[in-house]
Symmetry: C2
Subunit: 218 residues, 2 copies
């Protein structure tokens, strides 16, 4: 019982910070996306393609979460945007307090800011924590197998979109993107699914339009 109570306290404190983040984002007319996927699903490679496509229309920032190393932040800093590395030193997800503090340090414009939070590579724990984002984005590689939405349903229930990555590898795998879509829809019938190859730049234009349309609704 005690463990459950403490866990509730942690979630409740987290919720307070998430609320402050939502206020900050709303004041700055900025959207923040919580990018969640397995290790090696291609989250960083995706941002390397997507951010230059959005450049000029939106002011992009990245909060980069990793258990160890600054590899991913270094890759994204080459895009000449403001990237902040958050090293969790073993923790399996990013918490709302850390995100609020990092976000407060960014020079967000008064309008049209877009913050991508690349969460720790993990399909389970990051899905459980609200960090004040406007939406979670599920990144799933076609190499992971079609049953993953059924085996890790929480992320797909919570997400605002799924990005199916590495589609250039489909001819070399025993998978079918139709089955990926069917299994995603079993969990969340209306969830949009984008098929992307970051290596080849395929599917980036559609994805760009979807991210821009988020701002039109503001």
């Amino acid at each position: 019982m005690m463990n459950i109570k403490v866990y509730k306290n942690i979630l409740s404190a987290n919720e307070e910070w998430a609320k402050k983040t939502r206020e900050l984002l709303s004041n700055k007319k900025t959207l923040m996306w919580n990018i969640i996927g397995s290790p090696g699903a291609g989250k960083t490679a995706l941002l390397e393609r997507l951010i230059p496509a959005l450049d000029g229309r939106l002011s992009c920032f990245v909060l980069e979460g990793d258990v160890e190393t600054t590899n991913d932040a270094e890759r994204l800093a080459r895009l000449n945007i403001d990237v902040r590395q958050i090293i969790t030193h073993g923790a399996c997800h990013l918490g709302a307090e850390t995100i609020y503090k990092a976000l407060s340090e960014l020079a967000l414009p008064g309008d049209g800011g877009c913050v991508f939070v690349e969460n720790v590579g993990n399909l389970v724990c990051p899905s459980e924590f609200d960090i004040g984002e406007n939406g979670k984005i599920a990144v799933l590689s076609v190499t992971e197998g079609e049953d993953k939405p059924l085996k890790y349903p929480l992320l797909f229930r919570e997400a605002k979109a799924v990005i199916l990555t590495k589609i250039d590898l489909v001819p070399h795998l025993d998978v079918d993107t139709t089955v990926y879509r069917t299994n995603i829809q079993k969990i969340n019938a209306k969830l949009p699914v984008f098929e992307v190859s970051a290596r080849r730049g395929e599917g980036i234009e559609n994805l760009k339009q979807w991210f821009l349309s988020g701002f039109e609704k503001y």
Copy 2:
């Protein structure tokens, strides 16, 4: 402070169950391996190849951990071995108490039993919990990228072996297995690395010999 204390209590209770498991395994001259890797790294496909190769020499059992679904247990039950599904309903790793209780129900022989615990697909949390295993085995797919041992070092520090899976895909990826090995060695210099393609059956014989040699040391 309170959260830290409770976390220590959880780990300490976990350690008690792990100790009981180690006694049970020792009494039964059985080895238990804790198989850890990302979602879709190919853990189940690996066991589908490895277990038939070991059959006749060892009595194999599987404790199958998943957040949801019985898909993987159903796949492995086709090998005509005793497989028990543990559904964690959202939890990100298997705990020692659950494993002890499941293990106690298996009809382990007095000698030559081999239990594979397929942990929840997650590179982070399962690495932190001792379940009384004889060793953790890291399963890493070549599709995940060469930096993963550096970004998720705990598993590679703790593991007794690394199985690099899906090597048949290397020609279609921008990766080099030498770099995988170099990065693994940076974390754990003596860790054996096995390159395997479960789809083609490549590398299974070497791996079989390694698992059999574990028993010779008993």
